[in-house]
């Protein structure tokens, strides 16, 4: 990946809190990030960040299996609205999970590096594929947004 953006320039923690099950969970408006160029996004699950900054429980993933791609738990997909279209469409959030604490020392692939770009977060959202374990809100999706 582009080593220039391995550095941390600016960081904003963002949580999508939801109190009921829905098909899509939209980001809140994030005034700090309007017109700022985002170059990296990662996500956190409950195994490494149990609570968000509002003390809301963070969603979990793959807590009962060593292989996130064959498990029966929920998976989450991220859509980012960039330049008037959903340029990042339904990206498996496992690909954004820098830090993992599953069994058998499995670690995921790391952060999502973007060509620095402005994201309209109010039109970006997370979708969920339901697994065998129903989520019990209130919960939150947690993201780390790195921007220039």
């Amino acid at each position: 990946m582009n080593s220039q953006y391995n550095k941390l320039y600016n960081f904003q923690f963002v949580a999508i809190k939801f109190t009921a099950i829905a098909n899509q969970y939209y980001f809140p408006d994030i005034p700090m990030l309007r017109d700022r160029k985002v170059y990296k996004i990662n996500t956190y699950f409950a195994s490494t960040l149990p609570k968000d900054n509002n003390n809301t429980t963070v969603v979990g993933i793959n807590t009962n299996t060593s292989n996130p791609y064959t498990n029966t738990d929920s998976n989450y997909y991220l859509t980012l609205y960039i330049n008037g279209m959903e340029k990042i469409k339904s990206l498996d959030m496992n690909l954004l999970n820098t830090i993992q604490a599953p069994k058998n020392n499995f670690s995921n692939s790391g952060s999502l590096f973007l060509t620095p770009t402005t994201i309209d977060f109010s039109k970006s959202y997370v979708q969920q594929s339901f697994g065998t374990t129903a989520m019990v809100p209130p919960l939150s999706f947690a993201f780390g947004i790195y921007y220039l």
């Binding site: 550095k7 941390l8 960081f11 923690f13 968000d52 830090i99 020392n105």
Partner: protein
């Protein structure tokens, strides 16, 4: 990552069990210095802190300190890092928990989070523990790397 030329350890005493926010101390030696990296101590590598000899405050996925966030302000008063989960900085962490899980950090910087050289105003920076630390006499230990 550039070769290390300077580093020092700072500690943020978290001595009040019910508080959720702890301001960082003034660090005169770091005034005007550009910070290039920050590393947090993990419980496995740091049972007690070096300066204050207190129990190290770490992000513990078992729920003792469920989530710890760091906010750093630059010398212009801008919070360029807002609510960074402490686990991002604990690259040496190896956490044994129920089920023999291990916490791995697999980010794209070989562990250490490199910061675009920035002057940090530590007196305007703080540690935030949404759930409260629940016990007294802990200390967060950060190793700060900086330019001359």
């Amino acid at each position: 990552m550039n070769p290390v030329s300077n580093c020092m350890v700072i500690e943020i005493p978290c001595t009040n069990a019910t508080s959720t926010q702890f301001q960082m101390p003034d660090v005169p030696y770091l005034r005007g210095k550009k910070i290039t990296a920050i590393v947090g101590s993990s419980a496995q590598k740091c049972l007690a802190t070096g300066n204050l000899n207190l129990t190290a405050l770490v992000q513990d996925q078992q729920g003792t300190f469920t989530s710890v966030f760091l906010t750093f302000s630059d010398n212009k008063g801008f919070q360029f890092i807002q609510n960074l989960p402490l686990v991002e900085l604990c690259y040496t962490s190896l956490q044994t928990v129920t089920g023999a899980n291990h916490l791995l950090l697999a980010n794209n910087t070989n562990g250490m989070v490199e910061i675009n050289p920035t002057i940090i105003d530590f007196t305007k920076s703080f540690v935030y523990v949404p759930a409260g630390i629940g016990a007294a006499n802990y200390s967060l230990q950060l190793t700060v790397f900086f330019e001359n």
